[in-house]
C-alpha cells in the first residue's frame, strides 16, 4: 500500500511538472500574436464597460473589437496605431469628461501625425478633454458646439453613430434647441433628416442613421450620403458592443 507521504510527493511532482509545462508553453503561444499599438485611452474588449486608462501610446496583445470607434493612424513612430474616437463614457470611462454636441475637429496631441481629424458623432456626447482655444468652438451651458466649416464626408466614420452605449451611460444635457446662434447642424440629427438627434434617445449613444439619413457633413458632400453607397461598401463587424 502506498503511504500518504509518497502520494503527496506524487501529487506535488505532477503539479510542478504541469505548471512548468504551462510556463514553457504559454509565452510561445502568447508571443505568436504581435503587440497592437493604441494611442491613448480606449475601451477594452468586449466593450461592456471595462476601460483602459493609459493616456499615452501603449501596446496590448489584442486587436480592437469594433472598428467603427477607432481610426487607424499611420506614419507614426513604431508603426500604425489605433485611436479611439468614440465617446469614452459610452463604453465605461468614468473619469473627468467634457460635453460636446455634433461633429467637430478632434485634437489628438498624442498623434500629431494623424493630421486634422474630425469627430463624427452626431448629437450630444463627451470627450475627455476640452478643445484647444478656437473661434469656431463655442462653449454654451457646459457643452461645446462647432461653428466652423463642416467636416469632410466620411461614410465609414459616420458608422460610429450606430454604436450603442452601456446601460449606465448618461449623455450631456443638450439638444438642438440649445444651440448657440450660428450653429449649423451636421449629420443624422440635422433638420430634414429622418433620424432623431442622440439626445432624443437617452441611453443610446447617438442617432442610428436610417436608410435615408445623411452622413456627417452630408450637406457639403451629398454624394457621399447616398444610402446605396453605404450598403455597397458593407459594414464592419459590430464586435462586442452591447
Amino acid at each position: 500500500m502506498r503511504s500518504p507521504l509518497s502520494t503527496l510527493r506524487l501529487v506535488v511532482a505532477v503539479a510542478v511538472c504541469a505548471s512548468a509545462g504551462f510556463g514553457v508553453a504559454m509565452p510561445a503561444a502568447r508571443a505568436a500574436a504581435p503587440m497592437v499599438k493604441y494611442i491613448g485611452m480606449h475601451p477594452l474588449s468586449p466593450h461592456q464597460g471595462e476601460y483602459c486608462y493609459i493616456d499615452a501610446i501603449h501596446y496590448h496583445r489584442f486587436l480592437p473589437v469594433d472598428l467603427r470607434v477607432y481610426v487607424s493612424v499611420k506614419d507614426g513612430a513604431e508603426g500604425p496605431g489605433q485611436l479611439y474616437v468614440g465617446d469614452p463614457a459610452w463604453l465605461g470611462y468614468d473619469g473627468p469628461q467634457v460635453g460636446y454636441y455634433g461633429p467637430h475637429p478632434l485634437d489628438v496631441p498624442l498623434a500629431p501625425e494623424a493630421g486634422r481629424l474630425f469627430c463624427y458623432i452626431s448629437g450630444a456626447h463627451h470627450h475627455v478633454t476640452a478643445p484647444p482655444p478656437s473661434t469656431s468652438m463655442v462653449l454654451k451651458d457646459g457643452v461645446y458646439w462647432y461653428l466652423g466649416p463642416p467636416p469632410p464626408a466620411d461614410v465609414q466614420r459616420s458608422w460610429i453613430n450606430e454604436v450603442r452605449a452601456i446601460k449606465a451611460y448618461v449623455p450631456p444635457k443638450a439638444d438642438l434647441s440649445a444651440a448657440p446662434p450660428g450653429y449649423r447642424p451636421f449629420g443624422p440629427g440635422a433638420p430634414g433628416s429622418s433620424a432623431p438627434p442622440a439626445s432624443a434617445t437617452p441611453g443610446a449613444t447617438a442617432a442610428v442613421p436610417s436608410s435615408g439619413a445623411k452622413v456627417a457633413g452630408g450637406a457639403a458632400a451629398p454624394a457621399a450620403a447616398a444610402p446605396g453607397k453605404v450598403k455597397a461598401v458593407g459594414k464592419p463587424a459590430a464586435g462586442g458592443t452591447p
Binding site: M26, A31, Y53, D55, I57
Partner: protein, 153 residues
Amino acid sequence: MSCTLAAGDWSLARWWRRSAPLLAAIALALVPSAGCRRSHVAGTPSTDGVLEAFRNAGLDVAGVANAEPDAWGADVCSSGKVSGVEVVICEFTSDEQLGKTRADTVRDWNSFNIDTGLVLHNQRTLLIVADRGRQDPQGRAIGKMVTAFKRVQ
C-alpha cells in the same frame, strides 16, 4: 606680535593633532554612504525623482532597486515592480541611444509574454512598463505612472 602668532600656530597644531583621528573616523564613516549614492545624468529627470513622483501619486515603489544600466545601453537605471507591474527607469546621455533602446524594447515585446507594454520618455529619461499576467488590467496604475512621469522636471 610674532610671539602671539607663534602661540596661535602652536594652538592650531595642537588642535589638529588632537582632532585628526576623530576627523579621519568621521570621513571614513561618510565614505560608504557617499558610495551608495549614484551620480545622475545632468539635464534630465533622475530615476530617484521619478520614483519620488510615483510615490507621491500613491504608487508602491518598494520593489524598485538600482539596476545594471549596460543591459539597456543607459547610464543609470532602476527597475522592479510598481504596484505589481514591471518597471524600468533609465537615464541616458545620448538621444540616439535612448531612441535605439526604445525601438528595441517595442520590437522585443513581440517575442515575450507581455499583456500591456508602454515606453515613454521625458527628456533623456526613459520609462518602460511591462504588465505580465494582467496585474493592471484597466491600466489605472500605469495611467498614474504616465501622469506622474510626464510632470517630473
